[in-house]
Protein backbone atom coordinates (compact mmCIF):
# COMPACT_ATOMS: atom_id res chain seq x y z
CA UNK A 1 0.00 0.00 0.00
CA UNK A 2 1.72 3.10 -1.09
CA UNK A 3 1.19 6.33 0.77
CA UNK A 4 0.88 8.02 -2.52
CA UNK A 5 -2.82 7.40 -2.68
CA UNK A 6 -3.70 8.83 0.64
CA UNK A 7 -2.84 12.03 2.36
CA UNK A 8 -0.60 11.91 5.35
CA UNK A 9 -2.14 13.30 8.49
CA UNK A 10 -0.38 15.93 10.58
CA UNK A 11 0.21 13.33 13.21
CA UNK A 12 1.84 10.92 10.80
CA UNK A 13 3.89 13.67 9.29
CA UNK A 14 5.10 14.97 12.62
CA UNK A 15 5.94 11.50 13.80
CA UNK A 16 8.44 11.30 10.97
CA UNK A 17 9.69 14.83 11.29
CA UNK A 18 12.60 14.20 13.65
CA UNK A 19 14.07 11.64 11.28
CA UNK A 20 13.42 13.75 8.19
CA UNK A 21 15.07 16.80 9.67
CA UNK A 22 17.87 14.83 11.24
CA UNK A 23 18.78 13.13 8.02
CA UNK A 24 18.87 16.39 6.15
CA UNK A 25 15.87 15.79 3.96
CA UNK A 26 14.47 18.81 2.25
CA UNK A 27 11.35 18.88 4.35
CA UNK A 28 9.89 21.95 2.70
CA UNK A 29 9.45 19.91 -0.46
CA UNK A 30 7.37 17.37 1.38
CA UNK A 31 3.89 16.99 0.03
CA UNK A 32 2.23 17.30 3.39
CA UNK A 33 4.06 20.44 4.36
CA UNK A 34 3.18 22.10 1.10
CA UNK A 35 -0.48 21.67 1.80
CA UNK A 36 -0.57 22.10 5.56
CA UNK A 37 -0.24 25.48 7.12
CA UNK A 38 0.04 24.15 10.66
CA UNK A 39 2.98 21.92 9.94
CA UNK A 40 4.58 24.60 7.85
CA UNK A 41 4.39 26.95 10.81
CA UNK A 42 5.84 24.28 13.07
CA UNK A 43 8.74 23.69 10.74
CA UNK A 44 9.39 27.40 10.40
CA UNK A 45 9.46 27.76 14.18
CA UNK A 46 11.88 24.88 14.59
CA UNK A 47 14.08 26.43 11.95
CA UNK A 48 13.96 29.76 13.72
CA UNK A 49 15.01 28.13 16.96
CA UNK A 50 17.85 26.21 15.36
CA UNK A 51 19.08 29.35 13.61
CA UNK A 52 18.89 31.42 16.76
CA UNK A 53 20.86 28.79 18.67
CA UNK A 54 24.05 29.74 16.88
CA UNK A 55 24.05 33.06 18.65
CA UNK A 56 23.31 31.73 22.10
CA UNK A 57 25.80 31.52 24.91
CA UNK A 58 28.88 32.95 23.23
CA UNK A 59 32.09 31.01 23.65
CA UNK A 60 33.84 32.21 26.76
CA UNK A 61 37.44 32.27 27.81
CA UNK A 62 38.19 30.65 31.16
CA UNK A 63 40.16 32.85 33.56
CA UNK A 64 43.96 32.74 33.33
CA UNK A 65 44.28 31.48 36.88
CA UNK A 66 42.42 28.31 36.03
CA UNK A 67 45.46 26.81 34.37
CA UNK A 68 47.53 27.48 37.46
CA UNK A 69 44.98 25.66 39.55
CA UNK A 70 44.98 22.74 37.18
CA UNK A 71 48.77 22.62 37.14
CA UNK A 72 48.87 22.62 40.91
CA UNK A 73 46.33 19.85 41.06
CA UNK A 74 48.24 17.80 38.50
CA UNK A 75 51.44 18.20 40.46
CA UNK A 76 49.86 17.21 43.73
CA UNK A 77 48.30 14.20 42.03
CA UNK A 78 51.57 13.04 40.62
CA UNK A 79 53.35 13.41 43.94
CA UNK A 80 50.56 11.87 46.00
CA UNK A 81 49.97 9.41 43.30
CA UNK A 82 46.71 7.99 44.47
CA UNK A 83 43.85 10.44 44.15
CA UNK A 84 41.10 8.45 42.60
CA UNK A 85 43.32 6.97 40.02
CA UNK A 86 44.30 3.37 39.74
CA UNK A 87 47.81 3.87 38.48
CA UNK A 88 49.27 5.27 41.64
CA UNK A 89 52.70 3.84 41.17
CA UNK A 90 54.57 6.00 38.71
CA UNK A 91 57.71 4.08 39.58
CA UNK A 92 57.63 0.34 39.78
CA UNK A 93 58.17 -0.91 43.28
CA UNK A 94 61.68 -2.01 44.09
CA UNK A 95 62.13 -5.68 44.33
CA UNK A 96 64.58 -6.76 46.94
CA UNK A 97 66.35 -9.89 45.99
Amino acid sequence: MSNKYRKMSCEEFQAQLAEMIGSGENVSENEHIRSCELCRALLADLQTIADAARDLFPVEEPPEKLWEKIETAIKSESTNGTKGSSQHAPHPPKVNL
Partner: protein, 231 residues
Amino acid sequence: MPESPVPTQLKSQESNNTRDGASASPSRGKAHAPFTSAATPDPSDAMVLARAQAGDHHAFAILYSLHKRRIYSLCLRMVGNIAEAEDLTQEAFLQLHRKIGTFRGDSAFSTWLHRLAINVVLMQLRKKGLSLISLDEAMEPAPEEGPGRSFGAPDLTLAGAIDRLALERAVADLPAGYRLIFILHDVEGFEHNEIAAMLDCSIGNSKSQLHKARLKLREALRSNAQQEARS
Protein backbone atom coordinates in the same frame (compact mmCIF):
# COMPACT_ATOMS: atom_id res chain seq x y z
CA MET B 1 2.83 26.96 -5.86
CA PRO B 2 5.30 27.05 -3.06
CA GLU B 3 4.94 30.73 -2.40
CA SER B 4 6.11 30.55 1.17
CA PRO B 5 9.17 28.39 1.01
CA VAL B 6 10.28 27.13 4.35
CA PRO B 7 13.99 27.08 4.85
CA THR B 8 15.13 23.63 5.72
CA GLN B 9 18.68 23.54 6.84
CA LEU B 10 17.54 22.43 10.23
CA LYS B 11 19.94 19.60 10.37
CA SER B 12 23.62 19.81 10.01
CA GLN B 13 25.14 23.20 10.15
CA GLU B 14 28.32 22.07 8.65
CA SER B 15 29.70 25.49 8.18
CA ASN B 16 28.80 26.40 11.69
CA ASN B 17 31.27 24.61 13.78
CA THR B 18 34.75 24.64 15.01
CA ARG B 19 35.10 21.06 15.74
CA ASP B 20 38.79 21.35 15.39
CA GLY B 21 38.47 23.53 18.47
CA ALA B 22 42.05 24.46 18.12
CA SER B 23 41.72 27.24 15.64
CA ALA B 24 38.65 28.76 17.19
CA SER B 25 38.63 32.47 17.04
CA PRO B 26 39.32 33.97 20.43
CA SER B 27 36.00 35.70 20.90
CA ARG B 28 33.59 33.23 19.40
CA GLY B 29 34.18 29.58 18.85
CA LYS B 30 31.86 29.61 15.93
CA ALA B 31 34.08 30.94 13.25
CA HIS B 32 32.40 30.04 10.03
CA ALA B 33 35.40 28.13 8.97
CA PRO B 34 35.22 25.57 6.22
CA PHE B 35 34.17 22.24 7.58
CA THR B 36 37.11 20.60 9.20
CA SER B 37 36.53 16.94 9.29
CA ALA B 38 37.07 15.31 12.61
CA ALA B 39 38.83 12.54 10.77
CA THR B 40 41.61 14.68 9.47
CA PRO B 41 43.29 16.39 12.37
CA ASP B 42 46.04 18.86 11.89
CA PRO B 43 49.33 16.91 11.95
CA SER B 44 50.90 19.33 14.40
CA ASP B 45 47.96 18.71 16.73
CA ALA B 46 48.67 15.02 16.47
CA MET B 47 52.29 15.65 17.47
CA VAL B 48 51.25 17.66 20.49
CA LEU B 49 48.80 14.96 21.43
CA ALA B 50 51.39 12.21 21.13
CA ARG B 51 53.82 14.16 23.27
CA ALA B 52 51.18 14.85 25.89
CA GLN B 53 50.36 11.16 25.94
CA ALA B 54 53.99 10.45 26.56
CA GLY B 55 53.82 12.65 29.64
CA ASP B 56 55.21 15.90 28.26
CA HIS B 57 53.82 18.59 30.53
CA HIS B 58 54.42 21.39 28.05
CA ALA B 59 52.47 19.52 25.40
CA PHE B 60 49.64 19.06 27.88
CA ALA B 61 49.64 22.79 28.49
CA ILE B 62 49.27 23.33 24.75
CA LEU B 63 46.37 20.90 24.63
CA TYR B 64 44.77 22.85 27.43
CA SER B 65 45.10 26.13 25.60
CA LEU B 66 43.74 24.59 22.42
CA HIS B 67 40.63 23.15 24.03
CA LYS B 68 39.96 25.22 27.12
CA ARG B 69 37.47 27.58 25.49
CA ARG B 70 35.23 24.90 24.14
CA ILE B 71 35.30 22.80 27.28
CA TYR B 72 34.78 25.75 29.59
CA SER B 73 31.98 27.09 27.43
CA LEU B 74 30.28 23.71 27.36
CA CYS B 75 30.44 23.51 31.14
CA LEU B 76 29.18 27.05 31.49
CA ARG B 77 26.31 26.42 29.11
CA MET B 78 25.34 23.32 31.02
CA VAL B 79 25.50 24.69 34.56
CA GLY B 80 25.07 28.41 33.97
CA ASN B 81 27.39 29.34 36.80
CA ILE B 82 30.95 30.62 36.42
CA ALA B 83 32.47 29.21 39.58
CA GLU B 84 30.96 25.82 38.93
CA ALA B 85 32.00 25.88 35.30
CA GLU B 86 35.58 26.56 36.37
CA ASP B 87 35.54 23.64 38.78
CA LEU B 88 34.11 21.36 36.14
CA THR B 89 36.66 22.48 33.57
CA GLN B 90 39.42 21.81 36.06
CA GLU B 91 38.02 18.37 36.80
CA ALA B 92 37.68 17.62 33.09
CA PHE B 93 41.31 18.46 32.41
CA LEU B 94 42.46 16.55 35.46
CA GLN B 95 40.61 13.55 34.14
CA LEU B 96 42.17 14.18 30.78
CA HIS B 97 45.57 14.16 32.41
CA ARG B 98 44.85 10.86 34.08
CA LYS B 99 43.32 9.22 31.06
CA ILE B 100 45.10 10.70 28.10
CA GLY B 101 47.21 7.60 27.77
CA THR B 102 44.10 5.58 27.05
CA PHE B 103 43.07 7.66 24.05
CA ARG B 104 43.41 5.37 21.06
CA GLY B 105 42.54 7.71 18.26
CA ASP B 106 39.47 5.84 17.09
CA SER B 107 37.50 9.04 17.41
CA ALA B 108 38.56 12.62 17.04
CA PHE B 109 40.40 13.82 20.10
CA SER B 110 38.04 16.74 20.60
CA THR B 111 35.07 14.38 20.50
CA TRP B 112 36.75 12.15 23.03
CA LEU B 113 37.57 15.10 25.27
CA HIS B 114 34.00 16.36 24.99
CA ARG B 115 32.74 12.98 26.02
CA LEU B 116 34.98 13.07 29.03
CA ALA B 117 33.88 16.57 29.96
CA ILE B 118 30.24 15.67 29.48
CA ASN B 119 30.61 12.83 31.93
CA VAL B 120 32.12 15.19 34.46
CA VAL B 121 29.23 17.61 33.97
CA LEU B 122 26.61 14.89 34.21
CA MET B 123 28.15 13.51 37.36
CA GLN B 124 27.92 16.96 38.89
CA LEU B 125 24.33 17.39 37.80
CA ARG B 126 23.44 14.06 39.33
CA LYS B 127 25.19 15.02 42.51
CA LYS B 128 23.10 18.14 42.74
CA GLY B 129 20.04 16.10 41.90
CA LEU B 130 17.98 19.18 41.21
CA SER B 131 14.97 19.00 39.00
CA LEU B 132 17.17 17.52 36.34
CA ILE B 133 16.42 14.31 34.70
CA SER B 134 19.37 12.14 33.96
CA LEU B 135 20.64 11.66 30.49
CA ASP B 136 19.39 8.10 30.55
CA GLU B 137 15.94 9.36 31.34
CA ALA B 138 16.18 11.96 28.66
CA MET B 139 17.08 9.23 26.25
CA GLU B 140 13.94 7.32 27.06
CA PRO B 141 11.07 8.30 24.86
CA ALA B 142 8.71 10.30 27.02
CA PRO B 143 5.20 8.92 26.65
CA GLU B 144 3.33 12.19 27.00
CA GLU B 145 5.10 13.56 24.02
CA GLY B 146 2.89 12.55 21.18
CA PRO B 147 3.40 14.33 17.92
CA GLY B 148 0.03 15.96 18.33
CA ARG B 149 1.33 18.13 21.11
CA SER B 150 3.01 20.49 18.75
CA PHE B 151 -0.17 21.61 17.13
CA GLY B 152 -1.04 25.17 17.57
CA ALA B 153 -2.83 27.98 15.92
CA PRO B 154 -0.75 29.48 13.16
CA ASP B 155 -1.14 32.91 14.67
CA LEU B 156 0.98 31.75 17.57
CA THR B 157 4.06 31.07 15.54
CA LEU B 158 7.27 32.62 16.55
CA ALA B 159 7.19 34.48 13.28
CA GLY B 160 10.88 34.22 12.70
CA ALA B 161 11.69 36.43 15.64
CA ILE B 162 13.08 35.12 18.86
CA ASP B 163 14.31 37.08 21.79
CA ARG B 164 17.78 35.72 22.49
CA LEU B 165 17.51 36.05 26.24
CA ALA B 166 14.15 34.34 26.27
CA LEU B 167 15.62 31.48 24.31
CA GLU B 168 18.64 31.23 26.58
CA ARG B 169 16.32 31.09 29.56
CA ALA B 170 14.23 28.41 27.91
CA VAL B 171 17.35 26.38 27.16
CA ALA B 172 18.48 26.70 30.76
CA ASP B 173 15.10 25.37 31.86
CA LEU B 174 15.27 22.28 29.68
CA PRO B 175 15.88 18.97 31.40
CA ALA B 176 19.61 18.30 31.34
CA GLY B 177 19.51 15.62 28.69
CA TYR B 178 17.62 17.77 26.21
CA ARG B 179 19.76 20.78 27.04
CA LEU B 180 22.89 18.79 26.38
CA ILE B 181 21.76 17.55 22.98
CA PHE B 182 20.52 20.98 21.96
CA ILE B 183 23.76 22.64 23.00
CA LEU B 184 25.93 20.05 21.32
CA HIS B 185 24.04 20.13 18.04
CA ASP B 186 22.44 23.50 17.57
CA VAL B 187 24.79 25.68 19.58
CA GLU B 188 28.11 23.91 19.12
CA GLY B 189 27.45 22.41 15.73
CA PHE B 190 28.27 18.75 16.33
CA GLU B 191 26.72 16.19 14.01
CA HIS B 192 24.39 13.47 15.20
CA ASN B 193 26.96 10.74 14.68
CA GLU B 194 29.43 12.60 16.86
CA ILE B 195 26.83 13.23 19.53
CA ALA B 196 25.83 9.59 19.47
CA ALA B 197 29.45 8.65 20.09
CA MET B 198 29.76 11.16 22.91
CA LEU B 199 26.59 10.08 24.65
CA ASP B 200 26.63 6.39 23.88
CA CYS B 201 23.30 6.50 22.17
CA SER B 202 22.05 5.73 18.70
CA ILE B 203 22.04 8.32 15.95
CA GLY B 204 18.26 7.98 15.72
CA ASN B 205 18.04 8.68 19.41
CA SER B 206 20.13 11.79 19.03
CA LYS B 207 17.88 13.02 16.24
CA SER B 208 14.68 12.41 18.13
CA GLN B 209 15.98 13.93 21.35
CA LEU B 210 17.11 17.02 19.53
CA HIS B 211 13.71 17.30 17.91
CA LYS B 212 12.01 17.00 21.27
CA ALA B 213 14.30 19.60 22.73
CA ARG B 214 13.40 22.04 19.97
CA LEU B 215 9.70 21.29 20.43
CA LYS B 216 10.00 21.98 24.14
CA LEU B 217 11.76 25.24 23.44
CA ARG B 218 9.03 26.21 21.03
CA GLU B 219 6.40 25.48 23.64
CA ALA B 220 8.26 27.58 26.18
CA LEU B 221 8.70 30.50 23.81
CA ARG B 222 5.09 30.37 22.75
CA SER B 223 3.75 30.36 26.27
CA ASN B 224 6.11 33.24 26.97
CA ALA B 225 4.69 35.15 24.08
CA GLN B 226 1.16 34.37 25.16
CA GLN B 227 1.81 35.66 28.64
CA GLU B 228 3.32 38.80 27.29
CA ALA B 229 0.39 39.32 25.00
CA ARG B 230 -1.98 39.01 27.94
CA SER B 231 -0.18 41.36 30.25
